[in-house]
Symmetry: C3
Subunit: 437 residues, 3 copies
Amino acid sequence: MRSSVPKVLQPICGRAMVGLVADALRGAGLDDLVAVVAPGARGVGEAIGGCVSPVEQAEQLGTGHALAQAGALLAEHRGHVLAINGDVPLVTPATISALVNRHESTGACLTILTCDGPPSHGMGRVVRDDNGAVAAIVEEADLDARSACSAEANAGVYCVQSPWVWSALSGLPTAPNGEVYLTSLVAEAVRQGHAVESLCVSDASEALGVNDGVQLDRAREAMRRRINDGWRLRGVSVMEPAYIDVAVEIGEDSVLYPNSFLQGRTSVGKGCAIGPGSMVTDSSIADGCRILNSVVEGAVLEEGVDVGPFSHVRPDSHVETGVHVGNFAEIKNSRLGRGTKMGHFSYVGDSWVGAGVNIGAGAVTCNFDGVDKHRTIVEDGAFIGSDSMLIAPVRIGAGASTGAGSVVTKDVPPGARVAGAPARIIGRGSPSELREA
Amino acid sequence: MRSSVPKVLQPICGRAMVGLVADALRGAGLDDLVAVVAPGARGVGEAIGGCVSPVEQAEQLGTGHALAQAGALLAEHRGHVLAINGDVPLVTPATISALVNRHESTGACLTILTCDGPPSHGMGRVVRDDNGAVAAIVEEADLDARSACSAEANAGVYCVQSPWVWSALSGLPTAPNGEVYLTSLVAEAVRQGHAVESLCVSDASEALGVNDGVQLDRAREAMRRRINDGWRLRGVSVMEPAYIDVAVEIGEDSVLYPNSFLQGRTSVGKGCAIGPGSMVTDSSIADGCRILNSVVEGAVLEEGVDVGPFSHVRPDSHVETGVHVGNFAEIKNSRLGRGTKMGHFSYVGDSWVGAGVNIGAGAVTCNFDGVDKHRTIVEDGAFIGSDSMLIAPVRIGAGASTGAGSVVTKDVPPGARVAGAPARIIGRGSPSELREA
Amino acid sequence: MRSSVPKVLQPICGRAMVGLVADALRGAGLDDLVAVVAPGARGVGEAIGGCVSPVEQAEQLGTGHALAQAGALLAEHRGHVLAINGDVPLVTPATISALVNRHESTGACLTILTCDGPPSHGMGRVVRDDNGAVAAIVEEADLDARSACSAEANAGVYCVQSPWVWSALSGLPTAPNGEVYLTSLVAEAVRQGHAVESLCVSDASEALGVNDGVQLDRAREAMRRRINDGWRLRGVSVMEPAYIDVAVEIGEDSVLYPNSFLQGRTSVGKGCAIGPGSMVTDSSIADGCRILNSVVEGAVLEEGVDVGPFSHVRPDSHVETGVHVGNFAEIKNSRLGRGTKMGHFSYVGDSWVGAGVNIGAGAVTCNFDGVDKHRTIVEDGAFIGSDSMLIAPVRIGAGASTGAGSVVTKDVPPGARVAGAPARIIGRGSPSELREA
């Protein structure tokens, strides 16, 4: 892959490739996973998640050698083993289940998954005998004219009897490059007179193997399409292109306009409008929210919040019902109370803001003094005038108001009006009177 | 559709699906429209627009039953009736005309529109007799092996003799689910010995029926492609993806960079550059404008205006020739005069700004006092210093200037220089002298 | 094309169409270029670049007439001439080389490039005799039923013997519209008993001719796909859609998220993350940079700079290692020193900013006095408080700090603390003490 990230850890729709493979296995009820990994391939276990037994393949001597490494762990296992490459991210639980069913119902020694149609680069081809029975798999590099014509390719998923497989693996031939291929198991089974069955997957994209960056792109596009169509059938209006991670949840009647990114552990409620051009990551968005051309990360938005265009809600922000966040607004590690309005360019950081507050254009919570970050508290119904600088730590009392351009260095009592730099109390009452100052 | 929006009202390129169907009929000269709608399906008449007679189908008893509801209205009609489903949004006027021509020139009792190629989910199939004549339409649910093989599908558009059709409808069979299908009309005509003709549409996408969210997406993509290619042939450079509503007009030599959205009743002049990442809605953009990565809604931009990146022109704004709106600028319900510059983050709302004005970074028209919105007037040639707060209602006279950080609470006479918070007159002359204050 | 831009100058991935053709020729070792251009077609020579001899075709009398205009220049040339239309932008050096090789190895008089598959609009078709030898090319407008069936189209690339070609051109027939077609050269060679060979290009998109806006779009998409796949195979993770100009360089392990635009002479280092929604033009981006949803033009970013979302780095900016540019920040014609932070909405223009500086939210370098632009200097370790207005020309000394909302009209000595409007020195020490002012 010419990348410092191992192939099976390359992300596809927010999940490492090998994690998608593991998800498909678990979805088919196969929970007893063994991962054969190269030494130092950190992160594979974490990517798979849950219960998985790691086995190290000290030398990279091919797929057959890799499976053999699991032998010590599984030698006593009586039944079947499903071996799958970590680079077939699009295989589905339904296909895995169908393969296992075929294997069990036929009583075969070995059952392989195949696919029709133009094989992608790197896939071995299935060779059948005159009766149509599987005879062997030929690696792409070894294709002769006849097998090259075969459009039936090996998808890299094998269901095989245990413990037979462990002895068979030790008898596989070694290729000139020193590797032992798992694909040779087919010919070995045939040689021993065992039955080899196959299942041809109906959607060839499930068998897409990822061996280079172009195939990774195609796998991403196919997975993206599958996820998007899935949401479309569940009442979400998804306009292309949309980028929805596998772990995301979306409610009915929500609309994703083009270039919406829903990433990580994000949930979106019903009747929301996201995008165009919005990126929502690890956030919880309640019903009826509108997020236009904005970035929301690690935040909670309650019902009916509207954001954007061009705003940025940063981690640890909690925005209550009906808050209006307009354009060029930045919120970080803060809570905004019900119905508060923050319509224009301004910055609220490390703050607790009550309900019904108005935050004027250009207002800033000056949370950083060059050394430490401090908190700002704005109580219910306060009116923060345009360009007000709130020098934290500071508290603006309920119903208080600050004049445009004021620099607030001290707490403001409830109901007071302040103005100036530094701000001083100039009275009480509605902010419309501030102009008299 | 698993949506609270009725299927035929789902939007495609800015127009409800059923409105696109009606547009195609009108484009073919069929102006006498009757819409059969379910009770409570508000909005269908409005979506169709113009003259349309609504007829209510009290119970949802199938397409044949639906057409029969129009019988009372059309029983006296001698000639032909064209019946079309509301969910075939891609059919063109040319195809409708061709179908009518085929029907009239052959003198058939019934002429149906069909399409070749892999039928999409939900389409009935055409069954022909040994002579190739249309014999029946089989619903997808009732397909047997033989008719399933037929790649010729029913597009859901019928041209039929009136008043024959009204009596024939009453004789159609009722399906086990209690519905009467319009497709049964074909077999009924054949049974009565009448001629049934067909026209096969050359572009299968025209026959795309929308029965679920995935098909809705495909219809959107097909319509989008059709609109974009249409503009490409008229001298507009449209880069994918672009989202152009059906009602939009664009002049020659304009370039739409990727992710341009032209929505609603928007017109764009010649030689404009829109995008990437710009959303223009219900706006009039004159020749030679440049809108980069910005949102423009309900606004008028005169010639040669440039906006962006990351600016927001809100409704009821009128921006005169040669105005420069830079980054992070917000304009709402305001007029900006010829050649005015607003280059940086700032907010102009509820304002009248003259020609040749310079609006500095961070300047704000403080239009809201917590209770009401007020207007700001800035006369020609004024210089609004950075971070000036203009507390509305307020007027800045022609050629006047405000110092950086000033808070202007009273009108400023023409030519005066003001500074401070609250701002006081400190002299006359060029703003470069403000630094002496 | 219905455009004021000549067809061959229409841009494709940042390069004029004819420039791409010239690049393919040079890539195949053909450096001796002659361009036949219409009078007044400015820019073709510049688009081709390097050494090229321009020849004017005074009247637009067809492709055969065009080539004949080069006759005076090449009449003495003994060997071969490769004639190519300027509107086949996707042809590759490998194909040009293969065509020349076929021509030279067969000793043919004329060798043409052809392509299989459904020909695009405007392509002539190849007619072969009963032995399979090329007999003629028929223009699309003159296709009869038989040649219309031919799926082998003329790609518009000819390798031909010189000086034979010059006399042959003079003998070509004139079409009813007064034009002489280069395609007639095939029949002429056959008529004279000379051998005509052909090479069929394996990737039909290479032969895509551009005759209208729709084909221009298809050419852009094909080139974009080719460029993106090329980077994918070189270790760059390119997510669709990405828009990478032909002259761009990108290092391994960089990730381009969707809607990344890398334009003009831009280089991106290793391990960068660009996008989604970022536009980088004519800029140099070092290793490990992160640019999210931002616009960078004509700038240099050193290692590990992070920008965005929603920021704008304008021309002649140089941002040193480890600088943090947050949201809504604008930098123009300025240098920012190592590790400086500019996290929020603010504007730095015409400035030199040292290392370790903190620039607060809403801070502005007031560089324009209504007449001239002036420079701001901020020395190492200074702390620019939120909403500070720095009235240029002005210098903030090393380690100095400005209070929130201060208007700095005079130079600030190193280590001093200033506040107020206009700002006055209020002490020394850490900015946290500014709140006491």
